[in-house]
């Protein structure tokens, strides 16, 4: 399964059983700023795909109130296979992130040294900007701690990644500057 939307959706069903429309809303709340839906129907397509693969299953819908004619809403819960697949996918995602970072380093290095320095300078500004944006929000009490957990984990990941990239840029810049200086002295 390749669709990041389907994996993200599986994560939401793991968090708690839900029905289609609620999942659309939870999806937008949880991933809104980092994963965009082309349309709400994408959720229903992904739910079908997850069901076909045995990662989620329907649970009996709640009985409608007597006299109320309403289409029953199928609720979905995760299967054991779904949880296991999600764990494996997360681990592979971490490897993929490292691969992308290595690729970025290589792609910068194929530029001429002076161009690479310009690119790094802009990257540095973007990272500095991003670092300011990650707010510091301490947790007050256990309930708040749990509720804000996803958000805080993401902030911390952002801040550590930005710190690592700033260090890498600092290193790369020194190497590139030496290269530029060496070229100039040859001319």
């Amino acid at each position: 399964m390749r669709s990041p939307v389907s994996w993200a959706l599986l994560g939401l069903v793991i968090q708690r059983p839900s029905y289609g429309y609620e999942l659309v809303q939870r999806f937008e709340r949880t991933y809104g700023d980092s994963l965009e839906l082309s349309s709400p129907s994408q959720i229903y397509v992904s739910l079908d795909a997850l069901k076909r693969r045995g990662m989620i299953e329907e649970i009996p819908a709640e009985e409608a109130e007597p006299g109320v004619v309403r289409q029953p809403k199928p609720h979905y819960k995760v299967t054991e296979m779904g949880v296991s697949a999600y764990r494996k996918w997360l681990i592979s995602l971490a490897k993929e992130q490292r691969r992308k970072a290595r690729l970025f380093a290589r792609q910068v290095s194929v530029l001429g040294a002076e161009d690479a320095l310009t690119v790094l300078e802009h990257c540095e500004l973007a990272y500095l900007d991003e670092a300011c944006e990650a707010p510091a929000k301490p947790s007050k009490g256990l309930l708040d701690h749990v509720e804000g957990l996803a958000q805080r984990l993401q902030w911390e990941e952002d801040r550590l990644a930005v710190g690592a990239m700033l260090s890498w840029i600092d290193y790369a810049r020194r190497e590139l500057q030496q290269l530029v200086a060496a070229h100039r002295s040859k001319r």
């Binding site: 300078e121 500095l128 900007d129 670092a131 300011c132 510091a136 902030w155 801040r159 990239m165 600092d170």
Partner: protein, 234 residues
């Protein structure tokens, strides 16, 4: 005119003919209510920059102006500037409150005012429970909060902190960052330094210092691309 202005500040180290640049043509402005964070690795010049800003070290060239006056760089902390760096005095056996009051008295503040200023500052930084402790007993977040209180008790306009969050417990660290943000929101100018991405959180501006040269931004009129914290909801 900004509260703090550095213009083309350069500082050299080493004997004549074999100098290295600790600060290389650094220009910087900070206004009241701004939290500015300087990121830099070891030997980037970040601690030197902060000492120069605080008036504790004189640059070889360039100007450091605070509240419209040129700082002497005489080794003494500039008037109106609070400085936190290098940790608490480990050999100092004084109680925190006792020492804070003593410092105020030496500055000519009368006894009752000195005591209430010290207590207020300790409460403000969440270090009220450290008043009766001795400085060498304090660790981690308590030590940082106490250092901040000692600086705040002098009622500074600019607070300078070198590596404030180093050694602080991971979960407590955010509370210190939030405290710095709230001090800036109350109108204090705050300049911090860090070698961690985390230390930049909540800053209005982040600057990178490498080999004594400031990167990132100076002030909007000097640099077209300025990393500014976006207004809430923007």
């Amino acid at each position: 005119m900004s509260l703090l202005e550095l213009e083309h500040v350069t500082l050299l180290e080493g004997s004549k003919g074999r100098e290295t640049l600790l600060l290389n043509d650094v220009s910087l402005e900070i206004d009241p209510g701004e939290l500015v964070a300087v990121w830099g690795k070891r030997r980037s010049g970040r601690s030197t920059l902060l000492r120069v800003v605080a008036g504790m070290q004189r640059p070889d060239s360039g100007v450091v102006r605070f509240a419209g006056r040129e700082l002497a760089g005489s080794g003494a902390l500039g008037e109106g500037i609070g400085f936190c760096g290098g940790g608490l005095r480990a050999t100092d056996g004084w109680q925190v409150l006792e020492q804070m009051v003593g410092t105020q008295l030496a500055r000519g503040v009368p006894q009752p005012a000195a005591r209430s200023r010290a207590l207020n500052a300790l409460e403000r930084t969440g270090a009220g429970h450290c008043a009766d402790r001795r400085q060498y007993e304090l660790r981690g977040g308590d030590a940082v909060r106490t250092m901040l209180a000692i600086a705040l008790a002098t009622e500074p306009q600019l607070l300078v902190l070198d590596d404030a969050i180093t050694g602080v417990d991971l979960l407590e660290r955010d509370e210190i960052l939030l405290l710095l943000r709230s001090l800036a929101d109350e109108g204090l100018a705050v300049l911090t330094s860090t070698d961690e991405g985390t230390g930049l959180s909540g800053a209005d501006r982040a600057l990178a210092l490498s080999e004594g040269r400031l990167r990132g931004s100076v002030a909007p009129r000097l640099a077209p691309v300025v990393p500014l914290r976006r207004a809430a909801g923007a």
